[in-house]
């Protein structure tokens, strides 16, 4: 036995004999023995035998996680039994175990709901035990992952008393994956769903995917792209989807599909997709019946309609509510949910794109069926490095709204730039709308506590692909992780999640955790600085959105850069004040006043709402131009600072992951300089002002950057 161990270790030595290679494929579940030997000893005693009550597939999954997790981290031989035998760790439900029932925690667990759980020091038959208990086995699975996380992050279990329940009912990943395995805005290889081989072939990765999501509380996944293909609603594909649902079920993950609004025409043989047409209604009812026949716990539909060329109710002069409700009726008998996207805009509508979703949806408040939830992006434009929160939040008290965050880094350097997104998520979630007085944060609107939404949900557009490390950039795993943790509890801080992820992923050593957390916490702000400082937005390259493109013009103004930055000799910025497009008026009075005045508008949003002269004085005392240049230069320079931080962890982690990130940081540095030079030189044409002498001049002329073409960039 010892023999085999040695080998396996050595196999991992693999390429170039550094600290054993880690390709990142195990994500934050790459259990290794605890570095703190003392703790390991004490944990090993505490968790050497487990009473695991119950016997369904979820209990089986819990058992596997414990065996792998505990024995890897504690190097003990865990024994797990479904009979109470005075074990020190007790996991299960009151309904599954009389010992747990005897603890009289039913009411407490009831309050925590199906997904909630407790981890607490208790006595059973006078024996001191740690209990992981929930109303449901899924809750017990969540509690088990929490327990393993506490161990891996070397936490204290004395008189432990944890109560957990999620802030949102539905915590969902959106995969923009196409049936041909390309992934729209996917930068980590191709789609992990191998539709061609389904249902016959099940990749181990499907199970690893379910484990990873369950470990952070994600309980739903939309398998297909919002730019949808109706074929996924045919029996052939439903059978394939059902095979995935079977893999995910033990881990509490429901699957959803995207419903193409014109499916009745494309696969139903109808002449119309009019939501009020009886045949169309019948088509969707039958489609839902067909799906639930194969997937009894199917989650429902996600729909992108009347946006960017997708068909929708508009084609039939119907409202978004009429479209959504028609689908809701089809799903209703089966308990399915419609997630209807509010990302609706049209370049033929002659108003500021930022206003359109609000204008269309607010009048429909209260008109949606109770199994419809409207999915709203964090900002009104489109996942920019920084956006003010979407004015729809707070404006629809009678219609459940859910958040759509982007985990994949469409506008933030794809899988090449290190950009930790929790600070972006938190910035939106913690924005106070004042809609019901102080503390009416966006988060509280989402979790239902402001408007008492009957349904609550949050979605993240996945950054997952077939790359061995799942997300292309190892630190992309942190964004998947952070989304899940915040979907569970939006009160967690970005910094604590970063530290938790760093410990789970690398090590508990402060020499690793500290620099990694510093890098992560600074990364998004620096990404904003070298791309779109002071409220600039949508000035990226066309189509692939990777590099800079402040010069982008085109047929469709709302897809150009010049439309959004409005740069001219007189100044720069999009006037959305009451004197401009008046987008500010979509916000509650208090916010409106704040954003409407240059005095009170946060400088980070200044050019989002205001068109200002180049010599406008900023709080720093600098002119707007100088401030902009300052941001671009310091932003780009800070990547070098990240590189130094990263180099400091080299001796503490394996070579493969170290070198992976090191190479990408070098690419990020060069990209940041390209962004900086492109934007500064481009805007200088209008400002006609010099680059402050403290900064080196760009080595190349503007034309060089404008002519730089990137070909075959992934994710389009």
């Amino acid at each position: 036995m010892k023999q085999i161990k040695l080998v396996v270790l050595l196999i991992l030595l693999s390429v170039f004999n550094k600290t054993y290679a880690d390709d990142g494929s195990k994500l934050w579940l790459n259990y290794k023995p605890l570095e703190n030997a003392e703790l390991k000893e004490s944990y090993a005693q505490l968790f050497e035998d487990v009473y695991l009550a119950g016997e369904d597939e979820t209990i089986q999954a819990i058992s596997e996680e414990l065996k792998t997790g505990l024995s890897c981290m504690l190097e003990n031989n865990v024994t797990i039994s479904s009979k109470w035998n005075m074990q020190s760790l007790v996991i299960g439900t009151p309904s599954g175990s009389e010992q747990i029932a005897a603890l009289k925690i039913d009411k407490q667990l009831e309050k925590l709901g199906n997904d909630g759980y407790i981890i607490a020091s208790k006595k059973i038959d006078k024996k001191n035990v740690i209990v992981v208990a929930s109303k449901s086995n899924i809750g017990a699975l969540y509690g088990t992952f929490h327990l393993l996380r506490l161990i891996k992050t070397e936490s204290n279990f004395e008189n432990i008393n944890i109560e957990e329940s999620p802030k949102h009912q539905h915590r969902v990943l959106n995969h923009w994956d196409n049936l041909n395995r390309t992934v729209e805005r996917g930068f980590a290889g191709s789609s992990i769903w191998d539709w061609h081989k389904l249902p016959g072939y099940i990749y181990p990765q499907y199970i690893e995917y379910a484990r990873a999501n369950a470990s952070i509380g994600i309980n739903g996944t939309v398998l297909t792209n919002v730019n949808a293909n109706a074929l996924v609603l045919t029996d052939t594909y439903i059978e394939k989807a059902a095979a995935l649902a079977n893999v995910f079920r033990p881990y509490g993950i429901k699957i959803y599909l995207t419903a193409r609004f014109s499916a009745p025409i494309e696969i139903g043989g109808l002449k119309t997709a009019d939501p009020l047409d009886e045949d169309v209604k019948q088509f969707w009812k039958e489609t839902a019946d067909r799906i639930y026949k194969q997937i009894p716990d199917f989650g429902g539909f996600l729909v992108k309609a009347d946006s960017e060329g997708q068909p929708g109710p508009h084609n039939y002069k119907r409202t978004q509510a009429e479209g959504a409700n028609m689908l809701a009726e089809a799903l209703k008998p089966h308990g399915g949910l419609v997630m209807w996207r509010a990302f609706v805009y049209n370049h033929e509508v002659p108003v500021d794109r930022a206003l359109q979703a609000y204008n269309e949806f607010v009048p429909l408040d209260g008109k949606f069926h109770d199994n419809v939830i409207v999915q709203v992006k964090n900002g009104a434009i489109d996942f920019q490095p920084r956006e003010p929160y979407h004015p729809l939040f707070g404006a629809m008290p009678n219609t459940p709204l859910m958040m759509e965050f982007q985990i994949t880094q469409e506008y933030l350097g794809h899988a090449i730039h290190l950009t930790y997104l929790a600070p972006l998520y938190k910035e939106t979630l913690e924005t106070d709308t004042y809609i019901k007085g102080e503390g009416s944060t966006v988060a509280k609107i989402l979790d239902g506590s402001i408007h008492n939404y009957p349904v609550t949900a949050i979605a993240g557009v996945a950054n997952i692909g077939t790359d061995r490390n799942w997300t292309g950039h190892l630190f992309g795993q942190a964004n998947w992780y952070a989304f899940g943790r915040l979907a569970w509890n939006h009160n967690l801080s970005a910094e604590n999640i970063a530290a938790e992820w760093a410990k789970m992923t690398f090590s508990n050593k402060t020499a690793v955790v500290n620099p990694v957390v510093e890098m992560m916490m600074a990364s998004r702000e620096m990404g904003v600085s070298y791309r779109t400082p002071i409220g600039l937005h949508h000035i990226m390259a066309e189509s692939h959105h990777y590099g800079p493109g402040p010069w982008v013009t085109g047929r469709r103004p709302d897809w150009t850069a010049v439309y959004y930055h409005q740069a001219s000799e007189t100044g720069i910025g999009f006037d959305r004040t009451t004197k401009g497009s008046n987008a500010v008026s979509q916000y509650p009075e208090k916010i409106k006043e704040q954003y409407n005045s240059t005095e009170t508008c946060p400088e980070k949003f200044l050019l989002w709402f205001h068109h200002l002269p180049w010599d406008y004085k900023m709080n720093s005392g600098r002119t707007l131009w100088d401030e902009m240049v300052y941001k671009y230069y310091t932003g780009a320079d800070s990547v070098v600072w990240m590189q130094e931080k990263w180099n400091s962890v080299e001796k503490h982690i394996d070579f493969e992951r170290f070198n992976h990130v090191k190479q990408l940081l070098e690419m990020q540095k060069n990209d940041a300089i390209e962004w900086r030079n492109s934007c500064v030189l481009y805007f200088q044409q209008f400002s006609k002002m010099p680059i402050p002498s403290e900064f080196e001049k760009p080595e190349k002329p503007l034309e060089y950057y404008q002519n730089k073409k990137r070909l075959f960039v992934p994710g389009i």
Copy 2:
């Protein structure tokens, strides 16, 4: 230290706690400790200290392979030194080591050439040593991989005396990889070349790829698709290719690119690509210069011209020789090679497609420059499950010809069917052309011994992609392996290579090796039987070529099935006799006579050359129809036999690899039945004869199979 070992083992336990999971990513280099403890002991002493002479990157690679390989398999602590210190294993070159020079083996090594090597028991300073010696460090690397293979396959080292040198100078993989990372006829995920991240980001997989190829003697790789994109010849992409060349160089692997014939127009700004145009010649000279500036050891160009829509000399009324020579002149000063494909055909030419390449190339024999080699597919049609050898072999004594085999299974079940291809390769290689009397095999034409070709080469179209196991189907690795081994030495038997691969990949246990080898050896013939028995060919589904399509018709006869099987009420088969298309006359007299007569034509080629009535009597005594049905049914049934064989190894190998193959075999079984039923029912329309009562009737009607549509099949 022991601690870590345990963990690493347990990490690998991973999903569902079976024998530790192996995702196949380590290929045949997944060094594990020898199962034979006694041997392991004796090897451990034999190979505990190594004298490795020299110090370049290749020597460094040898050192890494020894550290990983020896310590994993023998669990000893290997010490490696570049100084002679009475070690038991000696590796290097006479020029790099006076001790090796003192062995007076220079002449022997000279004879073996740069890539050749010896592994022999010798005495140095009276010490018994095993010497791995070569003229070059690359040869020493090959010898080292051979040594490690001998250890892994538990071979005898007593008085060892091995001499090795490759049969072909250039042993090359052809990647049909596009710049957007799709892979034409690729079934194992997307292209491993991440052009977008090159040159900045180097995947560890690039190094693993180089190691794997070097371990089987492959020394060249064509990075891009023969359906070429001229952009790869621009500086941007050459810089990216150069980064790969740098990774591969220490492993003796040269890179090649595909040259799109119309590149002078597409990226050169010229109006023509006429090979006799001075500007065009100049464009290619400059292109070659640009490439060699960044890649000093660039291998050369592979060209697909005048075929399936690709531009070529025909567009300018020039010959294939004029096209090839023009490129050869550009490469000549740098020592580059042109691999010019003979796969030239045109549906506007009113002759049997099988004749066209021969008709076009034979008249050009001797007209090609000395750095041109003509690359010929194994058969005259296109990588069918079975084809007679290509008549060009033997017909061009004054023009070096190289073989193009397909490793990727375009017509043999993609990455879903288990099909071991060495028997297919061997069938062609061992065919006797009698061109210079008995024993004038295709292999001897290729290795130059028949016509004294100054250049020799062999190419295989890669089956490699981003799937964790590289080839999609684990057994696809065996085809990559077998191609490399046969490229090195075409005298190896398919069976010995299969056994070698099975031992390298799984285990030396006969309980594993025997059934695995039996499956492999039977698999190709069964694949022929349930698809295209008795010389049938090109009856697969359109475009994706995965399923059956005997009913395929279309605008282009040479892309239909009916054109090739010619089934009618009077009979079936393509008459290529002297009374038919006369393709037989392209073969040497002796072969021509054999194929031309139904008496002497091997039954496996019968319908390739003859159109015969349904009641034609076969050697078995059955009618042609009954024989065909018999082949289809027994072929499909034999997949069940494979499943039984595979189930027998379950207890001897890890769950992940076992289950991977088990799932795919089940899919293969269903596909085989679909092939069988489709073809039998389709041809029965013409034969009007019954399915012999011993066979169950197809459960579904022909229409069912004809209407079965496969969508989004990979590899198109």
